[in-house]
């Protein structure tokens, strides 16, 4: 129970086309995460699946049955709204109990389920408050609880952890994962948090402007992004992109940027074409000696466990993340290396050509 198939789904608000031709098959029990830039249509797609929006085209089936005309109430799904949509006139307890009472569940079981959810979400002391008397994060937890207690065929969660603190977010995330493991119900989850997406998803769906860009397992997307957009979107901070033309001379292959800087590459790639090379900030390291390439430091962000260096090199801005805390200041010249880093090559239209692995700073080899 819980497979969901979207075929050519379209949705417009008047002249605004929000979803274009969405095709997606979600397996029973799968944990799917939707990611994509703000406004790309994630919530809308969730609402379409929920039955809260009528599609303007395409077909939606749940468990093999066409449900385009089945009302939201009859689809048997539960949803956590991005806007919470808590019942303002009910206490937290009543908010949680409402859906269960609808299903005619016995009192004792309701109490038990609510108790469980409340414990898990740490909202036990607020059970008799109204939503208006709660903090933002508390409200969000009630919204999650309302879906959880239902144990539906599928969960639809729209940025359910956005207002929680890091600690609570981690524990709630773990609870959701545990819940998924236990109930085996399909979950569709919208998030902007990379960690959530990477750790929770069986498959991630990357959306952009109402279209699906790529669907795949987290590491697939991370390691082999289908295009420049996905590459930039998956992984935080985003991948560095260096543009230039391929050149070969004397058996060494390189990318020559507009500024004339040179980036060494493995041999295999066809020469002559203008391409983009993607390099993740985490794969850049500081050289202690003056090997590697020189870069100008523009900004240093100390996160404690790691340091984010905003530098300029190859005529572009380059981000590098190095572990620990470093004594580097804006204006310094540093030497960076990309030894042992995977390089992602994209063609002019942004499509992925290959991913190659450098062996040492200047002589890359194939992976």
């Amino acid at each position: 129970m819980g497979s969901i198939t979207l075929t050519n789904i379209q949705k417009s608000y008047g002249a605004v086309h929000v979803l274009h031709d969405i095709n997606l098959a979600i397996n029973e029990g799968e944990f799917i995460v939707f990611v994509g830039p703000s406004g790309c249509g994630k919530s809308t797609l969730l609402r379409v699946i929920a039955g809260l929006e009528k599609v303007t085209g395409g077909e939606l089936s749940i468990n093999g049955e066409r449900v385009n005309d089945v009302s939201a109430a009859d689809r048997g799904l539960a949803m956590v709204f991005q806007s919470y949509a808590l019942y303002p006139h009910m206490t937290v307890r009543q908010n949680l109990a409402f859906g269960l009472e609808n299903a005619g569940m016995p009192k004792a079981e309701i109490t038990q389920r609510i108790g469980e959810a409340a414990r898990m979400l740490e909202i036990e002391q607020y059970m008799d408050r109204r939503p208006g008397q709660l903090s933002g994060g508390q409200r969000q937890r009630v919204a999650i609880g309302r879906a959880i207690v239902r144990r539906p065929t599928a969960f639809l969660l729209d940025e359910p952890l956005s207002n929680l603190d890091a600690e609570l977010r981690v524990s709630t995330r773990a609870e959701i994962a545990a819940l998924h493991a236990r109930l085996r119900s399909t979950m569709i989850y919208v998030t902007h948090d990379q960690v959530e997406a990477m750790t929770l998803a069986n498959r991630i769906v990357v959306m952009r402007a109402g279209r699906i860009e790529q669907v795949g397992t987290p590491l697939d997307l991370y390691n082999q992004p289908a295009n420049r957009f996905v590459a930039g979107f998956i992984g935080a901070p985003h991948m560095n992109f260096i543009e230039g033309a391929l050149e070969s001379s004397n058996g060494t292959h390189m990318l020559r940027t507009a500024q004339g800087d040179v980036l060494h590459l493995p041999q295999s790639v066809a020469p002559g074409a203008p391409i983009t090379v993607g390099l993740r900030p985490q794969h850049i390291s500081l050289s202690n000696d003056q090997s590697g390439f020189a870069a100008q430091v523009q900004l240093v962000e100390a996160l404690g466990s790691e340091t984010v260096i905003h530098a300029s090199a190859f005529g572009t801005k380059l981000l590098a993340i190095v572990p620990g805390q470093r004594r580097i200041s804006t204006g310094d010249t540093i030497y960076l290396s990309y030894a042992n880093a995977p390089l992602h090559l994209f063609d002019q239209s942004g499509l992925r050509i290959a991913t190659v692995q450098t062996e040492d700073g200047h002589s890359p080899t194939f992976v």
Partner: protein, 350 residues
Amino acid sequence: MSAAIRFLTRRKGGKGWHWTDIVTWVWLIGGLFIMFGPAVWLAFSSFKTPQGLAEFPPSILPYVTQQVKVEGYEKPLMLYNAKMPDGSTRVLAEVRRIGIVSQMVDPKAPGEVIKVNIGDRQPVREVFFATENYTQPFMQFDFFRYLWNSVFVTVTATLITLIVNSMAAFALSKYEFKGRNLAMLTILATLMVPLSVILVPLYSIISTVGLFNSLWGVILPTVATPTGVFILRQYMLTIPDELIDAARMDKASEWQIYWRIIVPLTAPALAVLAIFSVVWRWNDFLWPLIVLSRRELYTLQVGLSIYAGELNVQWHYILAMTVVTMIPVVVVFIFLQRFITTGIAGSGLK
């Protein structure tokens, strides 16, 4: 066309007829007959002659007995279906009636006089719209002056009502101050005494402040209506306070909060009150009657009341004028009711 049908039969959910769909349409169709039927009948009746109005059984459409000019008779004669002794029916014109016998002639062959018992004849009737019910009053009274007075009273009173009531409702719903509950209660308490009861005291106040025989004397006592304050206040209670917080952070003065935030968000309730106010003021009768005793100040309702005499009420004029005076309010209603649904999509909150 098929789109229209789909639209017509659009239902909750979509699949099959939900019981609520059936209730809806039964209720609507029933409403059409019960709520609107009498009004349609009223409109038709306004075209009836006084005789037609008094008639039993009443008809839906306005009918009169058909008349023909018959050669040799000065005045037009009434046509009847007369039952002949042989059982056949003929269309005859009545010349005169003597007792229970009617003397009739065939309009085509007016020579022979046929005697028919009056129980054996049925008038031939035709639909006839007595438009004089409409034209007559227009000639008799100063319609356009009354109309202007009515419009002035209605528009002015409604505007003042909306502003003054919404200001008060704002204060009573969104501020905490001492005496707030007392103020609300006083306002409500005054609803308890009907106007007709306090007519005399009110009249003495009006004449003391010199508003007797002035349109302002009609307008002012009605504009602070407790009903309006109450409706608006309760509606404003449903507007989230957080929006006011946001406006305060935006450096809005209290007046701007009222004018730019509260008033637009209260639009549905204001539309309701505006509709009510227009209807009330337009139809106001008792109070204007007391304040206005000069015909140049009459409102339409006062103007048309002159057809209510001591011993006789000229219903045909009153009905016709009722229909005429209703047209503007219907138009206003159609215009304003749209604002009831400009309801705001979402509350602007997370």
